[in-house]
């Protein structure tokens, strides 16, 4: 989930939802769903989201209440999923299953070879969400007319790419690594109660007199999703080392340290695998009756768990904003 030590470096401010109204948020969908999954599983009786054959679909409860939050504050979410097929069609679900099998094979190989970077990358794509959760999440989002983008690799990198291209106003992620992927502005705490936090790349770089490359190098010393970092090196030490020695290699050399696959991790942040091939229709027109039937009738989720969320969606999405006409 990124490295929380980056928080000490990042420039973050709390921002009221009302200041964000009308914005498009490219959400790191796995990160977002995972948050809701853990809270739903923690606080809700498992019978309410487990089908007769024992399949757990807690994600559906999470999506309903999570989207209500976006819509109520006039935020348009674009859900960006980690690497997978581009559209949700029956034959493609099969291809995603195959892809997942491929990832798992690759993961096996990576483990055998002890390739830490590949292990970290593949684990995040294979283990966090089950196949059922992958499929049902996309199907429910489609019924609610929420745009979905399939990233070629890391969803977070793709979301940052979309924000940089101006197709989203913010990246939505709890992960501080969003900064390293170059997300200009990231909204955190979209899944918690209370106001979100806004993390700004430009302000962060300015504050420390860094370039994005320098920030990435400092983060690699501290540790990222893809490398463990140097033991005993925290944000202060890393920033100082990069400022003194210019870049990662010189800084490491001066300390007599080594970061395994440092070059690959660096490349992963500097030139992540992303695509310009996506289409986003931000005019959302959800079919609430169909979505409710899908969650309650088709997947047998306890109606009481989603009634309030659907009501909130119904009450909010239909009100348009004047900015739509200006």
């Amino acid at each position: 989930m990124g490295n929380a030590a980056l928080r000490e470096i990042a420039v973050i401010e709390e921002v009221p939802f009302e200041d964000l109204g009308g914005s498009v948020v490219a959400v790191d969908a796995h990160n977002w769903l995972y948050r809701y999954l853990t809270t739903t599983v923690k606080w809700t009786a498992s019978e309410t989201y487990t089908t007769a054959d024992g399949t757990e679909v807690a994600n559906l409860i999470g999506i309903v209440s999570g989207l209500a939050k976006f819509f109520e504050h006039d935020l348009t979410p674009v859900m960006v999923f980690d690497g997978g097929p581009s559209e949700l069609k029956a034959d493609e679900i099969e291809s995603r299953r195959e892809q997942r099998a491929t990832y798992e094979e690759q993961l096996e190989t990576a483990r055998e070879e002890g390739d830490a970077v590949a292990i970290a990358q593949l684990e995040s794509r294979t283990q966090r969400l089950t196949e059922t959760i992958q499929t049902t999440s996309r199907e429910l989002l489609a019924l609610l007319d929420v745009p979905v983008v399939e990233a070629p690799a890391e969803g977070e990198a793709q979301a940052a790419h979309m924000a940089r291209r101006g197709d989203a106003d913010y990246v939505g992620s709890e992960d501080y690594d969003a900064l390293l992927f170059g997300a200009p502005e990231t909204l955190r705490q979209l899944t918690s109660s209370g106001n979100p936090e806004r993390m700004s790349l430009e302000a962060t770089l300015e504050k420390h007199g860094l370039t994005l490359e320098g920030l990435i190098d400092a983060a690699i010393m501290i540790g990222t999703d893809f490398n463990p970092g140097i033991s005993g090196v925290g944000p202060k030490t890393a920033l100082k080392a990069i400022a003194e020695h210019g870049d990662l290699w010189s800084a490491l050399e001066a300390r007599g340290e080594h970061v395994e696959h440092g070059d690959r991790v660096r490349e992963l942040f500097r030139n992540p695998t992303v695509t310009d091939e996506y289409e986003v229709d931000t005019l959302i027109d959800p079919d609430i009756a169909a979505a409710r039937a899908y969650v309650v009738d088709e997947w047998g989720v306890d109606e009481g768990e989603v009634a309030r969320g659907f009501e909130r969606i119904e009450a909010s999405v239909v009100q348009t904003g004047l900015d739509r006409w200006s």
Binding site: D285, V318, Q319, G321, W325
Partner: protein
């Protein structure tokens, strides 16, 4: 520089029409009168108000900008007796507004205009239908609709030539038709849009019963509500975004 004397009633009418949408606003103190433009935090309802210098007993200004807490200023204006006058004077140094009402002096701390929500751009809308009616007919429509629903449909029947109001509740419905004989004027055009009663009720509160009100409407488009106050020397235009049915 800003120095003015205005009837408490005129000042209250102006402030009330803005305070139904926002708590704080910027007031532009132009040479020929003051103007206010504000949008509610959800960006659903907007108000554009102007009060000509002629509406004041006396008026002097040179293009300043102040930020005010509306409910505070409304409370102060409410201290005046019926027909009373309010004297306003801006102290540029202290950024305070000195207010005098029948010997009562009130010094109002102003709000930094930069801290107030940005003023909206006014959407440039060409709405096909226009309905002119009395404020009391709007009041009646809104009140009736509010008994059964949270929203209200406003539209024009081009064939039968009437303006209509519809509200559908879980059990009860309200329908009202106003023909050209009951309306002051009707320009036919395709019009049917649904609006939140929460907003329309608030706007209705500010509209005087005797005012001549112009509604401009389209199909699933914002509504423009236009009326005058202070003998036509004050003008208010509301704009309200529609609700769009999701299925």
């Amino acid at each position: 520089m800003f120095k003015a004397i205005v009837s408490a009633e005129t000042l209250s009418s102006a402030l009330d029409s803005v305070s139904v949408l926002v708590d704080e606003c910027k007031i532009h103190l132009e040479e020929d009168g003051f103007t206010i433009r504000a949008v509610d935090p959800a960006n659903v309802g907007m108000v554009d108000l102007s009060l000509d210098a002629a509406a004041f007993e006396s008026y002097e200004a040179d293009g300043g900008l102040i930020g005010v807490d509306l409910s505070r200023l409304e409370d102060i204006a409410g201290m005046a007796e019926s027909g009373g006058l309010v004297q306003l004077e801006l102290d540029e140094e202290t950024r305070k507004l000195h207010i005098q009402i029948d010997g009562l002096e009130y010094t109002l701390a102003l709000i930094d205009p930069d801290s107030i929500r940005q003023e909206p751009d006014i959407p440039d809308l060409d709405l096909p239908a226009s309905v002119v009616l009395e404020g009391k007919d709007i009041n009646r429509s809104v009140k009736a609709a509010d008994m059964v629903s949270d929203h209200i449909a406003l539209g024009v029947d081009e064939g039968e030539e009437f303006f209509y109001v519809d509200a559908e509740g879980d059990t009860d419905d309200v329908h009202l038709e106003l023909t050209t004989t009951e309306l002051i004027d009707l320009q036919l055009g395709p019009a049917h849009s649904l609006f939140s009663l929460d907003y329309l009720k608030d706007m209705n509160k500010a509209i005087p019963a005797a005012a001549e009100v112009t509604l401009e409407l389209g199909e699933e488009f914002p509504i423009k509500i236009h009326y005058g106050f202070a003998e036509g020397q004050g003008q208010v235009t509301y704009m309200l975004a529609p609700r769009i049915q999701s299925d």
